[in-house]
Amino acid sequence: MKSSVITFPGSNCDRDMDVALRKFGFKNKMVWHADAELPKSDLVVLPGGFSYGDYLRCGSMASKSRIMQSVINFANSGGMVMGICNGFQILVETGLVPGVLLRNKYLEFICKNVFVKINDKKNKYFKNVDNEVLEFHIAHNEGNYFCTNDQLKEIEDNNQIAINYCDENGKIEDKFNPNGSIKNIAGIFNKEKNVLGMMPHPERMIHASLSGEDGSLFFKNLINNLK
């Protein structure tokens, strides 16, 4: 399986993602934002970080990078595109997934483990994951997902919510919402579910000595689904 991780100026989880993808069997290539062409890929990842310093608006300048036209074309032709954290912010700026990401409700950066409930398994990202709940790790300042009522209805009608913040038993309540996201949304798909944007960082949870191992579970499953 071939993957590509895009490095924007200010990306800082690109190496971590590269390490994770390789660990679980992807042949990964790092792709520079100013390149025009994507290498042949089964998966394209927009990594976390602070592309363009998060100046103007998180993800907005990166969404206009030269490489992004190729990424958008790739996504529109059904290619798998995953945006993590800042990558998610870039995805909403391109319009590949609906909604926006506002500043966290308490106006503070937050770095901690959270639980997320998988809302939909009829997609290549979460198909065959045995667990209903995963322990993931978040580290962001602008992860407060928001969209209009009409958009929300459409998202729900199409089952586009990927994961919601919850407790360890999968209970989705306001008190388990770390950033004020509407409906505790931690990640969403596009309509066709080949594009996933999510705030949590599975790449930081790939070893028992790190924050946990549910990231390993996620990547192992992902590569199997792509085979």
Binding site: P9, D16, G53, D54, Y55, E108, F109, C111
Partner: protein, 730 residues
């Protein structure tokens, strides 16, 4: 502008210093030259009050690759890997403008580390605020935390440990000390010593603006009521540009184009160019019209004294300019050839085709003033006798809860949750433990780091306090299973012109020297921050020690949370019942006098090294050093983190229960072992003449003392966790 004595005094120079400048130059300096002298000769850059005493610090050791004198210290961690690290203060700017002050402090120290070719892999910080009741404290704390996070998070370097304290002596002078560790290959370390003639001098990074002019001079003076006017001397940070600068520098460093490299920190272009020339025993010539400027019509004076951030000065091999420029173009950074090295041993500056400065380099560096300031020796205070009637009404559980909720003991989760502590995917011990630990990427090794200070002990008796801080750092590293290698120190004091403050400095440095010498824990880098005082009142002496240690196999790392019910809990080291200056004495008995706990270096070393032996033999399940709040506080924290309880039986000592549980005697640890290993453990401890007590057994959910006192761990957790969150949300 005509330069005279008054202009020099306005620049923070003393009258006799100005006379010396005129004598050295054999003429009156022009305004640009005066600005350069004032920047190089201020306390912050010249160490004029401290140099004499810093010489006492032990700086050599088998593992030391580079001691003080470079951008940062370097130690050997085997297999051609080395760790570059340093701590630095950003106190004055952080009080004036907390967000930017703290942010640029973090940015500055990271630059010091990657200037040497190392990729930063961990940040730490030691931050100290005034009394929680003081009207400025909350906003300063919030601003500083946001600033540290804002910069470090954007850089993608995890903040893995730190220390926060509150004390009214910081009401008018907060402390913000930032530390960074970087990883480098031993044969790819870069230094700041220029070499060779006619080599191009390159400016890279951000453009130069009018921010931070005279920042270093500001940091060399006390505060008064005009403090707000100093805001323009605080630099503004741009972590995004620094991230690009980091990547671009490392890319250039992969080749062999660089002769010397130096970041532009305090006193900007002035100190960086002069330091490179001075170390290389060369001259340097700069055309200031070539310096990329952010603002129009900047004068030579402003260009030389600007402290705009995210800039570097590089001496390149000739002919490598195009290659280097390509890299900086790729990262969208300014790149300019601004001068060359010469054999004149002078710094010569040109602007609009006129020579605007011509100063022999040695007058700025070797001939800078050095003072043997007067200082007063501190007496060891008399011990207090605790009266029985003062303590007999105390309920241990109430006291424990109060101590756990004390601002200096309580959980600092509110702070470190705002720092990205997991980016880079190698953090194996997060903040909240004895030390932060990161794996050395792609290997089985791990590096542990902690930062400590004990202002109260240093204030009560500077010599003992100085020793104690080094020992505490040593213990914190051992508690996570790391072998301590070296330290960096940030020496925060009041005015060196005050005999008592100067005495505190001299004796703390003496204490640090003695302990680091004895423990073979040398000082490889550091920084001095004087004038932490408002009007006539100085802070409590606060030397902060950043310690670094190595864990050969990260799987052998130890954490502090209790692991398993039925395991035994021992206290390593003897408890004598020293209560003076303890958290208990100061906060429960309201007794602020008396000596700090004595430091016995033999016991520190022996107890620590023996614990490492136990760890090497896989006999330790959890460990935690005993510091503020004594045995019971240490145990309570291990219970809280491990969600386990303990049944404690006080050993039959002559001291009473309160003294046993709350005393802050040094050289002690709590360890958890499996019952079946008891004999093995006891044998090793006995063989090494290490005193130990059997403290109790791990149980579920509750803490018992001698079967009578009882409290649930949940209650303790609430006491420990809620203070800071409540304080910040009010």
């Amino acid at each position: 502008m005509i330069v005279n004595e008054q202009v020099a005094v306005d620049h923070g120079l003393k009258k006799d210093e100005y006379a010396k400048i005129c004598e050295l130059l054999k003429r009156t300096p022009n305004i640009t030259e005066l600005g350069i002298f004032s920047a190089m000769w201020n306390e912050h850059c010249s160490y004029k009050s401290s140099r004499l005493h810093l010489k006492k610090l032990p700086t050599k050791g088998k593992k030391v690759i580079q001691g003080p004198g470079e951008n940062a210290g370097v130690i050997d961690i085997e297999d051609n890997d080395a760790i570059v690290f340093k701590i630095e203060s950003h106190n004055h700017p952080s009080f004036i403008e907390p967000y930017q002050g703290a942010a640029t402090g973090v940015g500055g120290i990271m630059r010091d580390v990657f200037t040497m070719g190392a990729r930063p892999i961990a940040n730490l910080n030691s931050i100290h605020f005034g009394s929680p009741q003081h009207k400025k404290t909350k906003n300063l704390l919030r601003g500083v935390v946001h600033g540290i996070g804002g910069y470090g998070n954007c850089m993608g370097v995890p903040t893995i440990a730190g220390q926060t304290s509150f004390d009214s002596s910081y009401n008018g002078n907060i402390l913000v000390n930032a530390m960074t560790l970087g990883l480098v290959k031993k044969d790819k370390i870069f230094y700041s010593k220029a070499a060779g003639l006619n080599k191009p001098v390159i400016y890279v990074g951000s453009k130069t603006g009018r921010d931070g002019i005279h920042g270093a001079s500001m940091a060399s003076a006390s505060f008064d009521e005009k403090i707000e006017e100093k805001k323009p001397t605080v630099q503004v940070g741009d972590p995004f540009t620094e991230k690009l600068l980091l990547e671009a520098c490392l890319e250039l460093m992969a080749g062999d184009s660089i002769i010397a490299i130096q970041d532009m920190g305090a006193a900007g272009l002035t100190s960086s160019s002069i330091e490179m020339a001075s170390k290389g025993n060369l001259g340097i010539e700069i055309n200031l019209n070539k310096v990329p400027c952010r603002e129009a019509k900047m004068t030579p004076y402003e260009i030389m004294l600007s402290e705009s951030q995210e800039r570097m000065l590089i001496v390149l091999e000739k002919g490598k300019e195009e290659h280097a420029k390509k890299i900086f173009d790729k990262w969208n950074l300014d790149f300019a050839v601004i001068g060359k090295t010469t054999n004149s041993k002078k710094i010569k500056l040109y602007f609009d085709e006129e020579k605007v400065a011509d100063i022999p380099v040695n007058t700025l560096v070797e001939n800078s003033p050095m003072y043997d300031r007067k200082w007063k020796k501190a007496k060891l205070p008399k011990k207090n006798k605790i009266k029985k009637e003062d303590i007999k009404h105390l309920k241990i559980v109430d006291v424990l809860k109060k101590i756990l909720a004390n601002p200096n003991i309580c959980s600092k989760e509110w702070i470190w949750q705002q720092y990205d502590h997991t980016v880079m995917g190698d953090t194996i011990q997060k903040p909240g433990g004895d030390a932060g630990v990161v794996r050395v990427h792609g290997t089985d090794k791990a590096v542990a780091a902690s930062v400590d200070s004990s202002a109260v002990y240093c204030w009560a008796h500077p010599l003992t306090g100085g020793k104690q801080v080094v020992c505490e750092s040593f213990r914190n590293l051992i508690s996570v299973g790391a072998k301590p290698i070296a330290i960096t120190n940030c020496l925060n004091f009041g005015s060196p012109e005050n005999e008592e403050n100067m005495g505190e400095f001299v004796e703390c440095v003496q204490g640090i020297s003695e302990a680091s010498e004895y423990l073979k824990f040398p000082v490889v880098s550091g920084n001095v921050s004087f004038y932490n005082q408002t009007k006539d009142e100085g802070i409590k002496p606060t030397p902060a020690i950043g310690g670094v240690g190595l864990i050969k196999n990260y799987k052998n790392m130890i954490t502090m949370e209790f692991k398993e019910v039925d395991n035994l809990v021992l206290v390593i080291g003897k408890t004598e019942g020293h209560i003076d200056q303890s958290l208990f004495a100061r906060n429960i008995l309201d007794e602020k006098n008396g000596p700090p706990p004595e430091v016995n270096l033999f016991n520190e070393k022996n107890n620590g090294e023996t614990l490492l032996k136990l760890i090497d033999n896989n006999l330790i399940k959890s460990a935690h050093d005993i510091s503020l709040g004594g045995i019971i506080t240490a145990v309570a924290k291990m219970c809280i983190k491990g969600k386990k309880g303990i049944s404690i039986k006080k050993p039959k000592y002559l001291i009473n229960e309160i003294e046993y549980l709350f005393a802050e005697d040094q050289g002690r640890y709590i360890i958890e072992i499996n019952k079946k290993d008891f004999k093995k453990v006891a044998d090793i401890l006995d063989k090494n003449a290490v005193h130990f007590d059997e403290l109790g057994t791990i149980i579920e959910n509750e803490l018992y003392i001698n079967d009578k006192t009882k409290v649930t761990i949940d209650e303790l957790l609430t006491s420990n966790k809620s203070w800071l969150t409540n304080y910040m949300s009010k």
